[in-house]
Protein backbone atom coordinates (compact mmCIF):
# COMPACT_ATOMS: atom_id res chain seq x y z
CA UNK A 1 0.00 0.00 0.00
CA UNK A 2 1.45 3.33 -1.09
CA UNK A 3 0.05 5.32 1.83
CA UNK A 4 2.18 8.35 0.96
CA UNK A 5 0.50 8.57 -2.42
CA UNK A 6 -2.95 8.39 -0.85
CA UNK A 7 -1.87 11.14 1.53
CA UNK A 8 -0.47 13.25 -1.32
CA UNK A 9 -3.68 13.03 -3.36
CA UNK A 10 -5.85 13.64 -0.30
CA UNK A 11 -3.81 16.66 0.75
CA UNK A 12 -3.81 18.02 -2.78
CA UNK A 13 -7.58 17.73 -3.03
CA UNK A 14 -8.16 19.24 0.39
CA UNK A 15 -5.92 22.18 -0.40
CA UNK A 16 -8.12 22.79 -3.43
CA UNK A 17 -11.04 22.99 -1.01
CA UNK A 18 -9.40 25.64 1.15
CA UNK A 19 -8.38 27.55 -1.95
CA UNK A 20 -11.98 27.67 -3.14
CA UNK A 21 -13.49 28.19 0.29
CA UNK A 22 -16.15 30.65 -0.86
CA UNK A 23 -17.41 28.38 -3.59
CA UNK A 24 -17.14 25.12 -1.74
CA UNK A 25 -18.27 25.97 1.79
CA UNK A 26 -19.74 29.45 2.01
CA UNK A 27 -22.11 29.25 -0.94
CA UNK A 28 -23.89 26.03 0.15
CA UNK A 29 -24.27 27.47 3.66
CA UNK A 30 -25.79 30.67 2.30
CA UNK A 31 -28.22 28.82 0.03
CA UNK A 32 -29.25 26.51 2.88
CA UNK A 33 -29.89 29.51 5.11
CA UNK A 34 -32.16 30.88 2.39
CA UNK A 35 -34.16 27.64 2.45
CA UNK A 36 -34.63 28.06 6.18
CA UNK A 37 -35.79 31.64 5.77
CA UNK A 38 -38.21 30.79 2.95
CA UNK A 39 -39.48 27.32 3.90
CA UNK A 40 -38.84 27.39 7.61
CA UNK A 41 -39.80 30.90 8.67
CA UNK A 42 -42.03 32.28 5.89
CA UNK A 43 -43.98 29.31 4.53
CA UNK A 44 -43.26 26.94 7.39
CA UNK A 45 -45.02 29.21 9.90
CA UNK A 46 -48.29 28.55 8.03
CA UNK A 47 -47.76 24.78 8.01
CA UNK A 48 -48.75 22.69 10.98
CA UNK A 49 -46.43 20.08 12.32
CA UNK A 50 -45.33 17.20 10.13
CA UNK A 51 -45.41 13.88 11.96
CA UNK A 52 -45.02 15.57 15.30
CA UNK A 53 -42.18 18.02 14.54
CA UNK A 54 -42.39 21.62 13.33
CA UNK A 55 -41.93 22.05 9.61
CA UNK A 56 -38.71 24.06 9.96
CA UNK A 57 -37.20 21.29 12.04
CA UNK A 58 -38.59 18.58 9.76
CA UNK A 59 -36.72 19.82 6.68
CA UNK A 60 -33.26 19.98 8.35
CA UNK A 61 -32.14 16.39 7.51
CA UNK A 62 -33.43 16.73 3.94
CA UNK A 63 -31.59 20.01 3.45
CA UNK A 64 -28.36 18.54 4.73
CA UNK A 65 -28.76 15.56 2.42
CA UNK A 66 -29.50 17.85 -0.51
CA UNK A 67 -26.15 19.57 -0.02
CA UNK A 68 -24.20 16.44 0.83
CA UNK A 69 -25.45 14.59 -2.25
CA UNK A 70 -24.80 17.38 -4.73
CA UNK A 71 -21.51 18.48 -3.18
CA UNK A 72 -20.15 14.93 -2.97
CA UNK A 73 -20.85 14.44 -6.64
CA UNK A 74 -19.53 17.85 -7.65
CA UNK A 75 -16.34 17.55 -5.59
CA UNK A 76 -15.41 14.06 -6.63
CA UNK A 77 -16.36 14.47 -10.28
CA UNK A 78 -14.45 17.73 -10.58
CA UNK A 79 -11.51 16.32 -8.62
CA UNK A 80 -10.83 13.59 -11.17
CA UNK A 81 -12.18 15.38 -14.23
CA UNK A 82 -9.90 18.38 -13.87
CA UNK A 83 -6.59 16.45 -14.11
CA UNK A 84 -8.03 14.71 -17.14
CA UNK A 85 -8.98 18.05 -18.64
CA UNK A 86 -5.66 19.83 -18.04
CA UNK A 87 -3.58 16.71 -18.65
CA UNK A 88 -1.96 16.37 -15.22
CA UNK A 89 -3.56 12.91 -15.01
CA UNK A 90 -0.38 11.64 -16.72
CA UNK A 91 1.41 11.81 -13.40
CA UNK A 92 -1.22 9.85 -11.49
CA UNK A 93 -1.27 7.18 -14.20
CA UNK A 94 2.51 6.87 -14.30
CA UNK A 95 2.92 6.75 -10.52
CA UNK A 96 3.38 3.53 -8.57
CA UNK A 97 -0.13 3.69 -7.16
CA UNK A 98 -2.94 1.18 -7.43
CA UNK A 99 -6.33 2.25 -8.63
CA UNK A 100 -7.70 1.54 -5.21
CA UNK A 101 -5.27 4.05 -3.72
CA UNK A 102 -6.22 6.67 -6.29
CA UNK A 103 -9.90 6.22 -5.43
CA UNK A 104 -9.12 6.36 -1.72
CA UNK A 105 -7.33 9.69 -2.16
CA UNK A 106 -9.91 11.39 -4.37
CA UNK A 107 -13.07 9.93 -2.87
CA UNK A 108 -11.73 10.30 0.68
CA UNK A 109 -11.10 14.01 0.14
CA UNK A 110 -14.44 14.62 -1.59
CA UNK A 111 -16.31 12.76 1.17
CA UNK A 112 -14.41 14.60 3.91
CA UNK A 113 -15.39 17.88 2.37
CA UNK A 114 -19.07 17.06 2.10
CA UNK A 115 -19.18 15.62 5.62
CA UNK A 116 -17.69 18.87 6.91
CA UNK A 117 -20.21 20.77 4.85
CA UNK A 118 -23.07 18.66 6.25
CA UNK A 119 -21.95 19.40 9.79
CA UNK A 120 -21.62 23.12 9.04
CA UNK A 121 -25.15 23.18 7.63
CA UNK A 122 -26.35 21.30 10.69
CA UNK A 123 -24.77 23.94 12.90
CA UNK A 124 -26.32 26.69 10.76
CA UNK A 125 -29.71 25.02 11.06
CA UNK A 126 -29.40 24.98 14.82
CA UNK A 127 -29.36 28.79 14.68
CA UNK A 128 -32.78 28.84 12.99
CA UNK A 129 -34.74 25.97 14.50
CA UNK A 130 -34.66 23.88 17.68
CA UNK A 131 -32.87 20.59 16.99
CA UNK A 132 -32.60 17.35 18.85
CA UNK A 133 -30.74 14.39 17.45
CA UNK A 134 -32.01 11.09 18.83
CA UNK A 135 -29.31 8.85 17.40
CA UNK A 136 -26.14 10.92 16.84
CA UNK A 137 -24.03 7.87 15.97
CA UNK A 138 -26.51 6.71 13.37
CA UNK A 139 -26.73 10.26 12.10
CA UNK A 140 -22.96 10.32 11.58
CA UNK A 141 -23.06 6.84 10.06
CA UNK A 142 -25.71 7.87 7.51
CA UNK A 143 -23.81 11.06 6.75
CA UNK A 144 -20.51 9.26 6.17
CA UNK A 145 -22.07 6.43 4.18
CA UNK A 146 -23.95 8.84 1.93
CA UNK A 147 -20.94 11.12 1.45
CA UNK A 148 -18.70 8.19 0.52
CA UNK A 149 -21.25 6.56 -1.77
CA UNK A 150 -22.05 9.72 -3.68
CA UNK A 151 -18.41 10.75 -3.88
CA UNK A 152 -17.78 7.41 -5.55
CA UNK A 153 -20.70 8.11 -7.85
CA UNK A 154 -19.22 11.54 -8.59
CA UNK A 155 -15.83 9.95 -9.30
CA UNK A 156 -17.49 7.72 -11.89
CA UNK A 157 -19.18 10.72 -13.49
CA UNK A 158 -15.88 12.60 -13.55
CA UNK A 159 -14.21 9.74 -15.39
CA UNK A 160 -17.11 9.29 -17.78
CA UNK A 161 -17.49 12.98 -18.60
CA UNK A 162 -15.59 14.25 -21.61
CA UNK A 163 -16.78 17.82 -21.29
CA UNK A 164 -17.88 20.28 -18.64
CA UNK A 165 -21.48 19.95 -19.79
CA UNK A 166 -21.62 16.26 -18.99
CA UNK A 167 -19.97 16.99 -15.67
CA UNK A 168 -22.87 19.25 -14.69
CA UNK A 169 -25.58 17.20 -16.33
CA UNK A 170 -26.01 14.37 -13.80
CA UNK A 171 -25.95 16.54 -10.65
CA UNK A 172 -28.25 19.16 -12.17
CA UNK A 173 -30.67 17.03 -14.14
CA UNK A 174 -30.78 13.82 -12.14
CA UNK A 175 -29.62 14.24 -8.56
CA UNK A 176 -31.20 17.60 -7.73
CA UNK A 177 -34.69 16.56 -8.96
CA UNK A 178 -34.40 13.20 -7.22
CA UNK A 179 -33.45 14.94 -3.99
CA UNK A 180 -36.27 17.46 -4.19
CA UNK A 181 -38.74 14.69 -4.97
CA UNK A 182 -37.09 12.37 -2.46
CA UNK A 183 -38.77 13.95 0.54
CA UNK A 184 -36.40 16.78 1.47
CA UNK A 185 -39.34 19.07 2.06
CA UNK A 186 -42.15 16.61 2.76
CA UNK A 187 -42.89 13.15 4.00
CA UNK A 188 -43.51 10.60 1.30
CA UNK A 189 -46.47 9.47 3.41
CA UNK A 190 -48.14 12.79 2.58
CA UNK A 191 -48.46 11.69 -1.05
CA UNK A 192 -51.49 9.89 -2.52
CA UNK A 193 -50.88 6.08 -2.68
CA UNK A 194 -50.06 5.98 -6.40
CA UNK A 195 -47.46 8.73 -6.16
CA UNK A 196 -46.10 7.21 -3.00
CA UNK A 197 -45.45 4.04 -5.02
CA UNK A 198 -43.64 6.09 -7.65
CA UNK A 199 -41.67 7.97 -5.01
CA UNK A 200 -40.41 4.72 -3.52
CA UNK A 201 -38.59 4.03 -6.80
CA UNK A 202 -36.41 7.04 -6.01
CA UNK A 203 -33.30 5.87 -4.17
CA UNK A 204 -32.85 9.24 -2.49
CA UNK A 205 -36.07 8.66 -0.52
CA UNK A 206 -34.30 5.91 1.41
CA UNK A 207 -31.29 8.09 2.21
CA UNK A 208 -33.34 10.99 3.47
CA UNK A 209 -35.74 8.76 5.35
CA UNK A 210 -32.97 6.97 7.21
CA UNK A 211 -31.18 10.21 7.93
CA UNK A 212 -34.36 11.83 9.25
CA UNK A 213 -35.01 8.80 11.42
CA UNK A 214 -31.64 9.32 13.13
CA UNK A 215 -32.83 12.83 14.03
CA UNK A 216 -36.48 12.42 15.00
CA UNK A 217 -37.21 8.69 14.89
CA UNK A 218 -39.70 9.29 12.10
CA UNK A 219 -39.22 7.50 8.82
CA UNK A 220 -41.01 6.98 5.52
CA UNK A 221 -39.55 3.51 5.15
CA UNK A 222 -37.92 1.19 7.65
CA UNK A 223 -34.40 2.03 8.72
CA UNK A 224 -33.09 -1.38 7.71
CA UNK A 225 -34.36 -0.81 4.18
CA UNK A 226 -32.70 2.62 4.15
CA UNK A 227 -29.35 1.19 5.15
CA UNK A 228 -29.74 -1.72 2.77
CA UNK A 229 -30.48 0.55 -0.19
CA UNK A 230 -27.56 2.88 0.60
CA UNK A 231 -25.17 -0.05 0.90
CA UNK A 232 -26.51 -1.53 -2.32
CA UNK A 233 -25.79 1.73 -4.14
CA UNK A 234 -22.32 1.84 -2.59
CA UNK A 235 -21.60 -1.68 -3.82
CA UNK A 236 -22.83 -0.84 -7.33
CA UNK A 237 -20.53 2.20 -7.44
CA UNK A 238 -17.60 0.11 -6.19
CA UNK A 239 -18.18 -2.47 -8.91
CA UNK A 240 -18.28 0.21 -11.59
CA UNK A 241 -15.09 1.83 -10.26
CA UNK A 242 -13.35 -1.54 -10.19
CA UNK A 243 -14.39 -2.12 -13.80
CA UNK A 244 -13.20 1.34 -14.85
CA UNK A 245 -9.77 0.70 -13.43
CA UNK A 246 -9.44 -2.78 -14.77
CA UNK A 247 -10.17 -1.63 -18.28
CA UNK A 248 -8.67 1.86 -18.09
CA UNK A 249 -11.99 3.22 -19.41
CA UNK A 250 -11.60 6.89 -20.44
CA UNK A 251 -8.29 7.02 -18.58
CA UNK A 252 -5.82 5.05 -20.64
CA UNK A 253 -5.69 5.01 -24.37
Amino acid sequence: MNHRAIGAIYKFEMSRTWRTLLQSIVSPVVSTSLYFVVFGAAIGSRITEVEGVSYGTFIVPGLIMLSVLTQSIMNASFGIYFPKFVGTIYEILSAPVSFFEIVLGYVGAAATKSILLGLIILATAALFVPLHIHHPLWMIAFLVLTAVTFSLFGFIIGIWADGFEKLQMIPMLVVTPLTFLGGSFYSVNMLPPTWRGVALLNPVVYLISGFRWSFYEIADVSVAVSIGMTLAFLVICLIIVAWIFRTGYRLKR
Binding site: N2, R4, A5, G7, A8, T88, S94, P96, G248, R253
Partner: protein, 307 residues
Protein backbone atom coordinates in the same frame (compact mmCIF):
# COMPACT_ATOMS: atom_id res chain seq x y z
CA UNK B 1 24.93 -6.16 -18.95
CA UNK B 2 21.19 -6.57 -18.49
CA UNK B 3 19.33 -3.64 -19.95
CA UNK B 4 17.44 -1.34 -17.57
CA UNK B 5 14.54 -1.14 -20.00
CA UNK B 6 13.66 -3.98 -22.30
CA UNK B 7 10.91 -3.65 -24.86
CA UNK B 8 9.94 -6.84 -26.67
CA UNK B 9 7.63 -7.28 -29.66
CA UNK B 10 5.61 -4.25 -28.64
CA UNK B 11 2.65 -3.21 -30.77
CA UNK B 12 -0.06 -0.67 -30.23
CA UNK B 13 -3.23 -0.18 -32.20
CA UNK B 14 -5.48 2.60 -30.97
CA UNK B 15 -9.25 2.29 -30.76
CA UNK B 16 -9.50 4.29 -33.95
CA UNK B 17 -7.61 1.54 -35.77
CA UNK B 18 -4.46 3.63 -36.04
CA UNK B 19 -1.41 1.43 -35.66
CA UNK B 20 1.05 3.54 -33.66
CA UNK B 21 3.70 0.88 -32.98
CA UNK B 22 4.60 -2.26 -34.87
CA UNK B 23 6.67 -4.99 -33.26
CA UNK B 24 9.10 -2.69 -31.47
CA UNK B 25 12.15 -4.25 -29.84
CA UNK B 26 14.47 -2.01 -27.90
CA UNK B 27 16.91 -2.34 -25.02
CA UNK B 28 18.13 0.65 -23.05
CA UNK B 29 21.35 0.25 -21.11
CA UNK B 30 21.74 1.47 -17.59
CA UNK B 31 23.34 4.88 -17.33
CA UNK B 32 23.22 5.84 -20.98
CA UNK B 33 21.60 8.78 -22.70
CA UNK B 34 19.43 7.40 -25.44
CA UNK B 35 17.97 9.72 -28.04
CA UNK B 36 14.83 8.63 -29.80
CA UNK B 37 14.41 10.46 -33.06
CA UNK B 38 11.53 10.40 -35.43
CA UNK B 39 9.18 12.68 -37.29
CA UNK B 40 5.88 13.80 -35.80
CA UNK B 41 3.47 10.91 -35.37
CA UNK B 42 6.23 8.30 -35.60
CA UNK B 43 5.22 6.68 -32.29
CA UNK B 44 7.76 8.20 -29.89
CA UNK B 45 5.21 9.44 -27.39
CA UNK B 46 3.17 6.24 -27.60
CA UNK B 47 6.27 4.19 -26.85
CA UNK B 48 7.11 6.36 -23.84
CA UNK B 49 3.46 6.26 -22.75
CA UNK B 50 3.42 2.47 -22.69
CA UNK B 51 6.66 2.17 -20.73
CA UNK B 52 5.37 4.69 -18.16
CA UNK B 53 1.90 3.15 -17.79
CA UNK B 54 -0.18 5.84 -19.48
CA UNK B 55 -1.03 3.86 -22.60
CA UNK B 56 -2.03 0.19 -22.66
CA UNK B 57 0.00 -1.94 -25.05
CA UNK B 58 -1.85 -4.10 -27.56
CA UNK B 59 0.86 -6.76 -27.74
CA UNK B 60 4.30 -7.41 -26.39
CA UNK B 61 6.00 -6.83 -23.09
CA UNK B 62 8.14 -4.24 -21.35
CA UNK B 63 10.37 -4.67 -18.32
CA UNK B 64 11.89 -1.82 -16.33
CA UNK B 65 14.73 -2.72 -14.02
CA UNK B 66 13.71 -6.37 -14.54
CA UNK B 67 10.12 -5.67 -13.43
CA UNK B 68 7.24 -6.30 -15.81
CA UNK B 69 5.33 -3.02 -16.24
CA UNK B 70 1.97 -4.72 -15.73
CA UNK B 71 2.57 -7.51 -13.22
CA UNK B 72 5.02 -5.54 -11.12
CA UNK B 73 3.97 -2.00 -11.97
CA UNK B 74 4.84 -0.51 -8.60
CA UNK B 75 8.49 -1.52 -8.74
CA UNK B 76 8.72 -0.61 -12.43
CA UNK B 77 7.11 2.81 -12.17
CA UNK B 78 8.90 3.93 -9.04
CA UNK B 79 12.14 3.83 -11.06
CA UNK B 80 10.83 6.22 -13.69
CA UNK B 81 10.50 9.97 -13.87
CA UNK B 82 8.48 11.26 -16.80
CA UNK B 83 8.53 14.70 -18.36
CA UNK B 84 5.83 14.68 -21.02
CA UNK B 85 5.87 16.80 -24.11
CA UNK B 86 2.83 18.91 -23.29
CA UNK B 87 2.96 21.41 -20.45
CA UNK B 88 0.50 19.83 -18.02
CA UNK B 89 0.66 21.66 -14.71
CA UNK B 90 -1.58 22.41 -11.78
CA UNK B 91 -1.94 26.10 -12.46
CA UNK B 92 -2.98 27.15 -8.98
CA UNK B 93 -0.40 25.18 -7.02
CA UNK B 94 2.94 26.57 -5.96
CA UNK B 95 6.17 25.18 -7.38
CA UNK B 96 7.11 23.78 -3.99
CA UNK B 97 3.72 22.14 -3.41
CA UNK B 98 3.61 20.52 -6.82
CA UNK B 99 7.12 19.06 -6.49
CA UNK B 100 6.33 17.77 -3.00
CA UNK B 101 3.10 16.26 -4.29
CA UNK B 102 5.01 14.31 -6.95
CA UNK B 103 7.41 12.94 -4.37
CA UNK B 104 4.56 11.76 -2.17
CA UNK B 105 2.72 10.27 -5.13
CA UNK B 106 5.75 8.10 -5.86
CA UNK B 107 5.75 6.88 -2.29
CA UNK B 108 8.91 8.63 -1.16
CA UNK B 109 9.14 10.08 2.37
CA UNK B 110 9.33 13.85 2.71
CA UNK B 111 12.74 15.29 1.94
CA UNK B 112 12.77 19.08 1.73
CA UNK B 113 16.53 19.08 1.17
CA UNK B 114 16.18 17.04 -1.99
CA UNK B 115 13.36 19.21 -3.35
CA UNK B 116 15.48 22.28 -2.59
CA UNK B 117 18.43 20.76 -4.44
CA UNK B 118 16.29 19.97 -7.49
CA UNK B 119 14.67 23.41 -7.58
CA UNK B 120 18.05 25.11 -7.25
CA UNK B 121 19.58 23.00 -10.01
CA UNK B 122 16.73 24.03 -12.30
CA UNK B 123 16.95 27.73 -11.27
CA UNK B 124 13.48 27.57 -9.75
CA UNK B 125 14.40 28.19 -6.16
CA UNK B 126 13.38 31.85 -6.11
CA UNK B 127 10.03 30.84 -7.62
CA UNK B 128 9.28 28.10 -5.12
CA UNK B 129 6.33 29.95 -3.58
CA UNK B 130 4.96 31.23 -6.88
CA UNK B 131 1.84 29.76 -8.36
CA UNK B 132 2.61 27.88 -11.55
CA UNK B 133 0.12 29.95 -13.53
CA UNK B 134 2.36 33.00 -13.04
CA UNK B 135 5.42 31.32 -14.57
CA UNK B 136 6.69 31.56 -18.12
CA UNK B 137 6.58 28.60 -20.50
CA UNK B 138 10.24 27.79 -19.99
CA UNK B 139 9.80 27.82 -16.22
CA UNK B 140 6.75 25.56 -16.45
CA UNK B 141 8.84 23.14 -18.47
CA UNK B 142 11.43 23.15 -15.71
CA UNK B 143 8.72 22.68 -13.08
CA UNK B 144 7.74 19.50 -14.89
CA UNK B 145 11.34 18.34 -14.84
CA UNK B 146 11.50 19.19 -11.13
CA UNK B 147 8.39 17.08 -10.51
CA UNK B 148 9.96 14.14 -12.33
CA UNK B 149 13.21 14.49 -10.39
CA UNK B 150 11.53 15.05 -7.03
CA UNK B 151 11.24 11.32 -6.42
CA UNK B 152 14.83 10.48 -7.35
CA UNK B 153 14.15 8.30 -10.40
CA UNK B 154 16.71 5.89 -11.86
CA UNK B 155 15.36 6.52 -15.33
CA UNK B 156 14.28 9.84 -16.76
CA UNK B 157 12.09 10.21 -19.82
CA UNK B 158 12.31 13.61 -21.47
CA UNK B 159 9.79 13.96 -24.26
CA UNK B 160 10.80 17.00 -26.31
CA UNK B 161 12.17 18.74 -23.21
CA UNK B 162 13.51 21.82 -24.92
CA UNK B 163 10.56 22.62 -27.17
CA UNK B 164 9.83 26.30 -26.69
CA UNK B 165 12.73 26.88 -24.35
CA UNK B 166 15.21 29.64 -25.11
CA UNK B 167 18.84 28.92 -25.93
CA UNK B 168 20.23 29.94 -22.56
CA UNK B 169 17.76 27.73 -20.73
CA UNK B 170 18.38 24.82 -23.03
CA UNK B 171 22.04 24.95 -22.15
CA UNK B 172 21.15 24.99 -18.46
CA UNK B 173 18.82 22.07 -18.92
CA UNK B 174 21.47 19.99 -20.64
CA UNK B 175 23.82 20.80 -17.78
CA UNK B 176 21.27 19.21 -15.46
CA UNK B 177 20.97 16.20 -17.76
CA UNK B 178 24.73 15.74 -17.81
CA UNK B 179 24.78 15.95 -14.03
CA UNK B 180 22.08 13.29 -13.82
CA UNK B 181 23.96 11.02 -16.16
CA UNK B 182 27.05 11.47 -14.04
CA UNK B 183 25.05 10.36 -11.00
CA UNK B 184 24.04 7.17 -12.83
CA UNK B 185 20.57 8.10 -14.08
CA UNK B 186 19.53 6.60 -17.41
CA UNK B 187 18.03 9.20 -19.73
CA UNK B 188 15.78 8.64 -22.70
CA UNK B 189 15.00 11.75 -24.67
CA UNK B 190 13.13 12.63 -27.76
CA UNK B 191 13.94 15.85 -29.46
CA UNK B 192 13.44 17.71 -32.67
CA UNK B 193 16.70 19.55 -32.16
CA UNK B 194 18.87 16.90 -33.67
CA UNK B 195 22.00 18.83 -32.83
CA UNK B 196 21.10 18.20 -29.20
CA UNK B 197 20.85 14.48 -29.71
CA UNK B 198 24.13 14.65 -31.55
CA UNK B 199 25.73 16.49 -28.68
CA UNK B 200 24.16 14.63 -25.77
CA UNK B 201 23.31 11.09 -26.72
CA UNK B 202 25.37 7.93 -26.35
CA UNK B 203 23.07 6.01 -28.60
CA UNK B 204 20.46 6.98 -31.13
CA UNK B 205 17.30 5.18 -32.15
CA UNK B 206 15.27 6.24 -35.13
CA UNK B 207 11.58 5.45 -35.24
CA UNK B 208 9.36 6.02 -38.23
CA UNK B 209 5.75 5.02 -38.80
CA UNK B 210 5.73 2.97 -35.62
CA UNK B 211 8.80 0.93 -36.43
CA UNK B 212 12.28 1.20 -35.03
CA UNK B 213 14.38 1.46 -38.15
CA UNK B 214 17.74 1.88 -36.54
CA UNK B 215 19.47 1.74 -33.16
CA UNK B 216 23.12 2.61 -33.19
CA UNK B 217 25.92 3.95 -31.14
CA UNK B 218 25.97 7.61 -32.05
CA UNK B 219 29.62 7.72 -33.07
CA UNK B 220 29.28 4.53 -35.13
CA UNK B 221 26.18 5.88 -36.76
CA UNK B 222 27.87 9.10 -37.69
CA UNK B 223 30.76 7.24 -39.16
CA UNK B 224 28.78 4.50 -40.81
CA UNK B 225 26.26 6.66 -42.47
CA UNK B 226 28.32 9.79 -42.59
CA UNK B 227 28.81 11.32 -45.97
CA UNK B 228 31.49 13.87 -46.34
CA UNK B 229 31.65 16.85 -48.59
CA UNK B 230 34.77 18.27 -50.13
CA UNK B 231 34.55 21.90 -51.15
CA UNK B 232 37.22 23.36 -53.40
CA UNK B 233 37.57 27.11 -53.57
CA UNK B 234 38.76 27.85 -57.10
CA UNK B 235 41.26 30.47 -58.13
CA UNK B 236 39.23 31.40 -61.18
CA UNK B 237 35.63 30.94 -62.25
CA UNK B 238 34.17 27.98 -64.07
CA UNK B 239 31.16 28.36 -66.35
CA UNK B 240 30.55 24.66 -66.52
CA UNK B 241 32.14 21.47 -65.32
CA UNK B 242 34.50 19.89 -67.89
CA UNK B 243 33.36 16.60 -69.47
CA UNK B 244 36.40 14.80 -68.09
CA UNK B 245 35.13 15.37 -64.54
CA UNK B 246 31.60 14.06 -65.17
CA UNK B 247 32.11 10.74 -63.30
CA UNK B 248 32.59 12.65 -60.03
CA UNK B 249 29.10 14.23 -60.12
CA UNK B 250 30.50 17.55 -59.05
CA UNK B 251 28.41 20.61 -58.42
CA UNK B 252 29.29 24.24 -58.96
CA UNK B 253 28.78 26.69 -56.15
CA UNK B 254 29.29 30.39 -55.44
CA UNK B 255 28.71 31.35 -59.08
CA UNK B 256 31.38 29.04 -60.34
CA UNK B 257 33.98 29.81 -57.70
CA UNK B 258 33.47 26.52 -55.85
CA UNK B 259 33.45 22.89 -56.80
CA UNK B 260 31.58 20.60 -54.47
CA UNK B 261 32.24 16.88 -54.24
CA UNK B 262 30.19 14.52 -52.07
CA UNK B 263 31.77 11.21 -51.14
CA UNK B 264 31.07 8.29 -48.92
CA UNK B 265 33.49 7.40 -46.14
CA UNK B 266 32.19 3.81 -46.22
CA UNK B 267 33.55 3.25 -49.75
CA UNK B 268 36.92 1.57 -50.29
CA UNK B 269 37.99 4.61 -52.19
CA UNK B 270 36.83 8.11 -51.59
CA UNK B 271 37.91 9.15 -55.07
CA UNK B 272 39.64 12.23 -53.72
CA UNK B 273 43.10 11.38 -55.03
CA UNK B 274 41.95 10.74 -58.57
CA UNK B 275 39.70 13.78 -58.48
CA UNK B 276 42.60 16.01 -57.54
CA UNK B 277 44.71 14.44 -60.30
CA UNK B 278 41.99 14.97 -62.88
CA UNK B 279 41.52 18.55 -61.77
CA UNK B 280 45.19 19.23 -62.40
CA UNK B 281 44.97 17.57 -65.80
CA UNK B 282 42.00 19.77 -66.62
CA UNK B 283 44.01 22.80 -65.56
CA UNK B 284 41.71 23.78 -62.72
CA UNK B 285 43.54 25.42 -59.83
CA UNK B 286 42.15 25.92 -56.39
CA UNK B 287 43.13 28.26 -53.59
CA UNK B 288 41.71 26.33 -50.66
CA UNK B 289 39.73 23.25 -49.74
CA UNK B 290 37.63 22.01 -46.85
CA UNK B 291 35.73 18.89 -45.88
CA UNK B 292 32.59 18.72 -43.78
CA UNK B 293 30.89 15.71 -42.24
CA UNK B 294 27.11 15.36 -42.59
CA UNK B 295 25.26 15.93 -39.35
CA UNK B 296 22.91 13.59 -37.58
CA UNK B 297 20.14 15.70 -38.98
CA UNK B 298 21.17 14.93 -42.55
CA UNK B 299 21.34 11.26 -41.66
CA UNK B 300 17.98 11.40 -40.01
CA UNK B 301 16.33 13.14 -42.91
CA UNK B 302 17.75 10.63 -45.37
CA UNK B 303 16.46 7.74 -43.24
CA UNK B 304 12.90 8.87 -42.82
CA UNK B 305 12.46 10.46 -46.21
CA UNK B 306 9.65 8.69 -48.06
CA UNK B 307 11.23 6.27 -50.50
Amino acid sequence: MTPIISVANLSKTYGTGFKALTNVNLDIDKGEIFALLGPNGAGKTTLIGIVCGIVNASEGSVTVGGHDINRDYRAARSLIGLVPQELHTDAFETVWATASFSRGLFGKPKNPDHIEKVLKALSLWDKKDSKIITLSGGMKRRVMIAKALSHEPQILFLDEPTAGVDVELRKGMWEVVRGLKASGVTIILTTHYIDEAEEMADRVGVINKGEIILVEDKADLMQKLGRKRLTLHLQGRLDRIPEALAPYHLALGEEGRQLVYDYDTRGERTGITSLLGDLRNAGIRFADLETTQSSLEDIFVSLVRPQ
